[in-house]
Amino acid sequence: MDLPSPPQGLAEDEERQIVDCARSGDVQALGQLYELYFPRVYRYVHARTGSVAEAEDVTEEIFLRMLTAIGDFQWRRVPFAAWLFRIARNYVISHVRKNGVRRNEAPLPEFIADTAPDPVALVEIKLSFEEALQAARGLSHAQREVIWLRFAVGLSVSDTARVLGKREGNVKVLQHKAIANLQKLLASAESEREPEDKRIRDEPAV
């Protein structure tokens, strides 16, 4: 069981070449960038908003903004991925401020009980998207930002730090705290479910 790898696709110099062409307005290069980054940007927006429809609209708008701004992109400041996700982050924040987050109509399900004998070990833990969304609500804003960029997008610690304007050391601390908090939330949800499960098991079958 591994983390889903981000689309690696291109070597650094290949990406550089495409970005340079895209900066000069080359449509084919822009299309390549779109294909390369669309899944990651979509996943990021989806993780933040929790809505497929919203993620589709917002992702499209982010790429249009990228189109407008790419002429000003400069390599010496940040890598392209960090630059693009700065645009994405800024746009999602402004979108959420203007529109609020469309909450899911149905209440989110409780955490699914882990079938492993020791809940702390979490050896075979499986999370649905809704569970991940709910768990993220228990984190601080900075921790959530790190989690989205690191695990929904797959950005490196270094690029995450650049997107968020933080130092790498801080990102590592926030990452650690976020995962540790999630672990506690999962264990706590599990322990809350245990008595209920036991009661169901103990009740005589009708």
Binding site: F38, A47, E56, F63, Q143, F151, K172, I179
Partner: protein
């Protein structure tokens, strides 16, 4: 938070994310942290899997087509004829007689503006964030920095700016004003950039000391500001505290390292062990702690001759403390010292049977040198390897709340040690026999266990 563990966790997650390693491979690579790492890595993996999402099948091609259409339109615009944005006549024509009164009025407005600006500049120095003069203050600071020349002077100026940011927070607190996100971010950023430059090789001692004092004061102030921190700035407060705490840790390590290096006379060194200074493979390999620790050579007896010195003042510049994580490669048996001191091999082996002073222990060996250090799981204890002019040192510090209250620095080449404690807000070097009166018993017990184990072998 343990920086070594943070780094290891981050490295494992990076490797897993890139598909270079599995969780199990990471656990096998870091057996000493496997118990702490495993649940965190598994949660992270589950989270990454949960976030996998695809748009609806119909959306992606349509959105792509719209994007490409926009790109084509942009390209067409870019290739179209270009016209100058502004056509400015040159030379400019002077206004006719009818416009001269208007010109005079304009000159008066400029004069009033300049006078007002001078007043603003003169009084902006004590402005606080939120004050209308505050942007002027910041602009003035930047302008002054432009005219500060020389690396030392510029660094000193920047330390002054960080001190000013802290005073502003104190000013806001004293007036009961809210602490906003930009204020805390600014504080953390200024401090962070100073800490990154914390390099005793090029940093004067007084600047290290100022950074140490600044970060200590920051923690005191930030601990008290929480009720005034605006809701959306809570994360920034936490970040500022983390930056201050890490900065203070590095400053203390740098000062302790510098102080321990400027003690050339034998009698000035706080503590030694019987094998100190002459570690040999033969002696270490067969030695036992009890056989080497003679009563008349106990750390307490030797330390009584050490004069008390302030770690933070007056030490000569020394290279930066290189905070090298201690890799704990899996080793079934405690390693024997190597016979090549020029290329020392560093190993850390967990010692399940050693529960001295109520904590768990590991044996650290660096070539012929060995000592016992608090095990990785002992979160209150920080173990770092520092490199300075005098060669490698081992720093073992006890973290009390958000700062160190006791630390011991051991020189690997000689096995000699110095003890440092926080007294009255500053880190001071003390003789070991004063340690018990300054810090609680269990901490002192741990430090003595470390000292007694130096070059005593497994």
């Amino acid at each position: 938070m343990n920086p070594q563990f943070e780094d290891t966790l981050a490295e494992c997650l990076e490797a897993i994310t890139q598909g270079q390693r599995t969780v199990d491979q990471c656990l096998a690579l870091y057996p000493q942290w496997a118990r702490r790492l495993e649940p965190l890595l598994r949660v992270a993996v589950a989270l990454g899997e949960a976030y996998v999402a695809e748009p609806s099948p119909a959306h992606e091609p349509e959105a792509r087509e719209r994007f490409l259409a926009a790109a084509r339109a942009r390209q067409a615009l870019a290739l179209g004829p270009r016209r100058p944005l502004l056509a400015i006549p040159w030379p400019p024509r002077l206004p006719g007689p009818a416009l001269r009164p208007a010109l005079a009025a304009l000159a008066l407005v400029v004069l009033v503006f300049v006078s007002f600006s001078s007043f603003t500049l003169a009084t902006a120095g004590d402005a606080l964030p939120g004050d209308w003069r505050y942007p002027v203050k910041r602009l003035t600071e930047r302008a002054r920095l432009t005219f500060v020349f020389g690396e030392d002077a510029r660094r000193s100026f920047r330390i002054g700016l960080a001190e000013e940011r802290l005073q502003e927070v104190e000013g806001l607190v004293s007036r009961g004003k809210g602490i906003s996100e930009p204020v805390l971010r600014e504080l953390a950023d200024n401090t962070g950039s100073l800490v990154e430059q914390l390099d005793p090789a090029s940093l004067p001692q007084d600047q290290i000391e100022r950074i140490g004092e600044l970060t200590a004061k920051q923690q005191e102030v930030l601990d008290q500001v929480e009720p005034l921190v605006e809701e959306e700035a809570v994360d920034e407060l936490e970040e500022a505290l983390v930056v201050s705490s890490e900065g203070h840790e590095r400053a203390v390590q740098a000062l302790a390292l510098a102080r321990s290096e400027e003690e050339p006379p034998e009698e000035a060194l706080a503590l030694t062990t019987p094998e100190a200074g002459t570690p040999t493979a033969e002696a270490d390999a067969g030695a036992s702690p009890t056989a080497q620790a003679e009563p008349d050579e106990s750390p307490t007896a030797e330390a009584s001759s050490t004069p008390e010195q302030d770690v933070g003042i007056g030490a000569s510049p020394t290279p930066a403390p290189e905070l090298t994580p201690v890799p704990g490669e899996p080793t079934p048996e405690p390693p024997l010292p190597t016979a090549t001191p020029s290329a020392p091999e560093r190993q850390v082996v967990f010692l399940p049977d050693d529960t001295a002073a109520g904590i768990t222990w590991s044996l650290m060996t660096i070539g012929d040198f060995s000592l016992r250090v608090p095990a990785d799981g002992e979160g209150d204890w920080v173990v770092s390897n520092l490199t300075g002019n005098g060669g490698e040192r081992v720093f073992i510090g006890h973290r009390w709340s958000i700062r160190f209250d006791a630390a011991v620095v051991i020189r690997v080449s000689t096995g000699k040690a110095s003890v440092h404690v926080l007294v009255g807000g500053t880190v001071q070097r003390v003789p070991a026999d004063e340690l018990r009166s300054l810090v609680p018993g269990p901490i002192t017990d741990v430090i003595f266990h470390v000292l007694e184990s130096i070059n005593a072998g497994p």
